[in-house]
């Protein structure tokens, strides 16, 4: 096995035992990138020089010393271009470091590069990137999912040992599922958003994308916790997530929401997820049928709230201070030219939707109503999670689809997130992990949802499941 194929857990051990040097690990990953990046196109920016510099400065005793990680290109890295895959920020170099990457620097990580995403994290395929569409390593004709498609593909293709993504409606979990890797969206408030370029502030969370559940736990240990720079980060103690992986799951109750096993779902996905639940049962878990009655309103609710917040969050890209500026006859014209030409079509669509939803006379009917429904959806989860420990669902209704297949129909694209969106609205944590493959060899993801700040619960269940299967050991042939 090549070094780039190792998990964080394995590489960490080998580096500490001096079986592998951190420099060798970095070289292995960089040469892997050389070999496959032309086909995968996971990265917007590669930072080999920066990586070597970081390695020289890192503390050998630090917990993630020398671990080459990729960071989604919407988290600010000081001195390293942070584009959000938008023409608007194509040449934007942040003057400050996001909290998560600051924490990773302290933990000794090495930045391999910044990964591609749907522009401003708006999309489910990376096809909305202004620069490139990333390929799914399992079938390069297909999309890797999105918006953290670059991070998920890079992890699956061995172009980094682990990565960070961000998840507003499924943007970590759906690409993780489609690329056959593990991705966790933490509880809202568990991880600081400071330095994450905002899409929808009340929904955005940063989380790990890794090859295994254990690796996800390791990265969660590194990035979690209250941050004085983010008022919405929770002053709640951070447990040892790594320790949760390996705990017994006998007797835990696994809720199966009937609303999530719907007509139109890919039968292969349906089968794989039902098999996974059986597997959990064989490990001692108790399946319980539950109901999340407001599920049907989730997509509409999400697209009102997320676009409303986005319309405001993206107002700062006006050509005045940083980023792209188009010349204009006067101030208003400069604004209009800059924003018309700097943003791609999906971003503009969402800004318009959100602007409309917040407008005088429509606010109550759209934003106000959506907030009420959000409360109901949150209550659904709170009630269900009083009865069960985790909830099991598919992550995505289908495996990876072909490039271009859904680009003409935004609504079809929005439905890719049908199983992940409610979780952001409720603010609870959820993990996606591999639970099988389609006949054509595409990965399928299982989603496990936990109660507020109970990442331990889902990590425990996910790890137990993962260890009883071999899915996480498969690698795409590249």
């Amino acid at each position: 096995m090549e070094i780039f194929d190792l998990t964080i857990e394995e590489l960490r051990l080998r580096i500490s035992r001096k079986e592998v040097s951190a420099a060798e690990a970095l070289d292995s990953v960089l040469s892997r990138i050389d070999k496959v990046e032309g086909r995968i196109k996971a990265y917007n920016t590669l930072t080999p020089e920066k990586a070597r510099g970081m390695l020289a400065e890192a503390d050998e005793k630090a917990p993630l010393y020398g671990i080459p990680l990729a960071i989604k290109d919407n988290m600010c890295t000081r001195g390293v271009r942070t584009t959000c895959s938008s023409k608007m920020l194509e040449n934007f170099v942040p003057v400050y470091e996001s909290t998560v990457t600051s924490k990773l620097i302290k933990a000794g990580y090495v930045l391999v590069g910044k990964t591609n995403l749907d522009e401003f994290a708006m999309g489910s395929s990376t096809e909305n990137s202004a620069f490139k569409t990333t390929s799914n390593p399992w079938d390069t004709e297909r999309i890797p999912g999105g918006s953290s498609g670059g991070s998920a593909a890079a992890v699956a293709a061995g172009q980094c040992v682990g990565a960070l993504g961000s998840d507003t409606g499924g943007s970590i979990r759906q690409p993780a599922a489609l690329c056959g890797v593990v991705g966790l969206k933490p509880t809202y408030g568990r991880v600081s958003r400071y330095g994450l370029v905002a899409f929808a502030s009340s929904l955005d969370q940063i989380g790990p994308i890794t090859k295994t559940v254990k690796d996800t736990a390791i990265l969660m240990n590194a990035i979690s916790g209250r941050d004085p720079m983010d008022s919405t980060s929770a002053p709640i103690p951070v447990p040892d997530f790594e320790a949760a992986a390996g705990k017994d799951i006998k007797g835990i109750k696994v809720g199966i929401p009937k609303e999530y096993f719907i007509e139109g779902m890919d039968p292969e996905v349906d089968t794989a997820v039902r098999e996974a639940i059986k597997k959990l049962e064989s490990l001692g878990a108790i399946p319980v049928e539950i109901s999340l009655p407001n599920t049907q309103y989730a997509i509409a609710t999400y697209y009102v709230l997320a676009t409303s917040e986005a319309s405001s969050n993206l107002a700062r890209y006006d050509g005045v201070k940083y980023g792209f500026r188009a010349e204009g006859r006067d101030l208003l014209d400069m604004y209009m030219q800059t924003r018309s030409r700097g943003f791609g079509p999906e971003v503009k669509r969402r800004i318009m939707l959100g602007t409309y939803a917040l407008s005088a006379g429509y606010y109550e009917a759209y934003y106000g109503k959506a907030q009420q429904v959000r409360t109901l959806i949150k209550r659904d989860f709170d009630n269900a999670l009083k009865e069960v420990d985790v909830i099991a669902t598919p992550t995505s209704p289908t495996a990876a689809f072909k490039m271009g297949e859904k680009t003409a129909d935004p609504l079809q694209m929005y439905l890719s997130d049908i199983f992940t969106i409610s979780i952001n609205l409720a603010g609870v944590p959820a993990i996606s992990l591999p639970c099988g493959f389609t006949k054509s060899g595409l990965p399928i993801g299982l989603q496990l949802i936990g109660g507020h700040f109970d990442e331990e619960g889902i990590i425990k269940a996910a790890y137990a499941y993962e260890q009883s299967t071999g899915w996480h050991k498969r690698r795409p042939a590249l």
Binding site: T82, Y96, A198, M229, D230, E309, S311, V320, K321, L358
Partner: protein, 482 residues
């Protein structure tokens, strides 16, 4: 200014929106300094320049100051309030929205009592909320404009009044009262010229007796107390004339042009922004526990209205004196300190409002900078009381005290200003005066009594003003009788 600017037939209805910059050391959502006058953009950071990914963090002091203000203006403090985004594009607004408060402000329903020539009146406070200031656009010659974001993110409190004012004079009195209260509680320096206190006005005119309000015009850009009154006066006249001429009043925003002394249309209602307010998701709602309110209430100083009443009842001062002395807290404190040292309240009041204020105003210095301390004034007044110096000489002594910071006693000694009460010395001075003016003495003795003043003047002149006036008078009368 006349209180019926609107004339006999019409009545003006005025409400004010006052923005007060809070005296916190750091900005409202970041750690940047709030010091005035620094080089452009030298007091900025990722948060207050709206860098992608940056987040606001609430300055707790700003919340406390706003609550303090609310309590000082009799508001109820919302136990739960939250921030909202006000969305609009402008180069001085780096995020493309201003973080403000909308449907749930910190303070609601208060009141402030003002006094004009027509007496006391209560002005309702609709709400007080907290928000961030915008930066400043700088337009210089050439094709470029510049943006200075030092002011961006300064904590700003908006105090919205009910439309309870009926004249520019009332608006002026209200503004001054707000300033007094804000300075008393130490939350704002109240400097209108530097922009730490700003005022927008909503003004309409209606026929007297009519219940419904007229069409409202918003006035902006009035950066002094005088301009507030002038702009309102102009605008009320303009509206009355328009109504009388049968022209419609347009709902619009108008700018006060202080150079031309007119208000000019800036934008109409149709051009007004739809700010698309919605709750700020980057900040958690503010919950104010009862204990905090209690604690802040207890920390409030004695407020001007109460102090004023006390000055009248305890010190027996005239209303006018009490009003003047309590307009600024340091002045009131200076006064009381002097009185506590045994000086007579009305005498202290006269000296503070007279000589001391005159000298301070000459150099634009606040009373805290006065080189005359309450102790020093009290000592000087004691010298008058025990007859060492005359009240007249005291003015010279006080001047000297103010200039040099020396105690009165020393000045009196050094300059030989001790009052002449010694009978022998007075007698010889009077004799000399009488000897020098024999014809006046004759005329006086012949019944021209108004000449008495002449003799007093001459005696004072001869003694360089040091003659004890009462003693000199007595003796003069006796000697002149012959």
């Amino acid at each position: 200014m006349s209180s019926n600017v609107a004339g006999e037939k019409f009545e003006a209805v005025i409400g004010l929106e006052v923005h007060a910059q809070l005296l916190t050391n750091s900005k409202i959502f970041c750690g940047c300094s709030t010091a005035f006058g620094a080089a452009p953009n030298s007091q900025t950071c990722p948060v207050c320049t709206g860098q992608p990914g940056s987040l606001p963090v609430m300055n707790e002091k700003a919340i406390q100051y706003t609550i303090k203000t609310g309590l000082a203006m009799d508001c109820s403090i919302s136990p739960y309030s939250r921030f909202a985004r006000k969305n609009y594009f402008y180069p001085d607004l780096p995020k493309g929205y201003q973080i403000s408060q909308y449907e749930l402000p910190l303070c609601l329903k208060g009141r402030v009592v003002i006094e004009t020539s027509e007496g006391k009146k209560e002005i309702g406070i609709t709400r007080i909320h907290l928000e961030e200031d915008a930066g400043k656009n700088i337009h210089e010659a050439g094709p470029f404009s510049f943006v200075d974001l030092n002011r961006g993110g300064m904590p700003l409190m908006e105090i919205v009044s009910e439309p309870d004012m009926r004249s520019p004079a009332e608006a002026g009195a209200y503004m001054r009262k707000l300033r007094t209260i804000l300075r008393y509680i130490g939350v704002c320096d109240g400097n209108m010229e530097q922009g730490s206190l700003r005022c927008d006005a909503n003004v309409s005119v209606r026929p007297k007796g009519q219940k419904e309000l007229g069409v409202k015009v918003e006035l902006k850009n009035m950066n002094s107390f005088r301009f507030v009154e002038k702009a309102l006066e102009y605008e009320i006249n303009r509206q009355v004339r328009a109504i009388e001429a049968g022209e419609p009043i347009l709902q619009e925003t108008r700018l006060w042009d202080s150079a031309a002394g007119v208000t000019l249309s800036m934008r109409s209602k149709e051009e007004a922004h739809d700010y698309r307010y919605f709750p700020e998701p980057d900040l958690v709602p503010v919950t104010v526990p009862d204990n905090d309110i209690k604690r802040i209430k207890e920390s409030l100083p004695e407020l001007p209205d109460i102090k004023r009443e006390r000055f009248v009842s305890v010190y027996g001062l005239p209303e006018y004196d009490a009003d003047q002395l309590t307009a600024e807290k340091p002045v009131a404190e200076w006064f009381e300190e002097t009185v506590k040292l045994g000086a007579k309240p009305k005498t202290v009041s006269n000296w503070v409002m007279g000589e001391l204020m005159r000298l301070l105003n000459e150099e634009g210095a606040p009373i805290e900078k006065s080189s005359v301390t309450p102790q020093a004034l009290a000592e000087m007044l004691a010298l008058i009381d025990n007859g060492t110096i005359s009240g007249k000489i005291a003015k010279t002594v006080f001047d000297e005290m103010y200039r040099t910071g020396k105690p009165a006693k020393k000045i009196v000694e050094e300059k030989g200003l001790v009052q002449i009460t010694d009978t022998g010395a007075l007698e010889s001075a009077i004799d000399a005066v009488m000897a020098a003016s024999p014809s006046e003495v004759e005329r006086y003795r012949a019944g021209e009594e108004k000449l008495f003043g002449f003799f007093v003047g001459q005696v004072m002149k001869a003694t360089k003003g040091k003659a004890n006036p009462a003693a000199a008078n007595d003796m003069l009368k006796k000697r002149l009788k012959g």
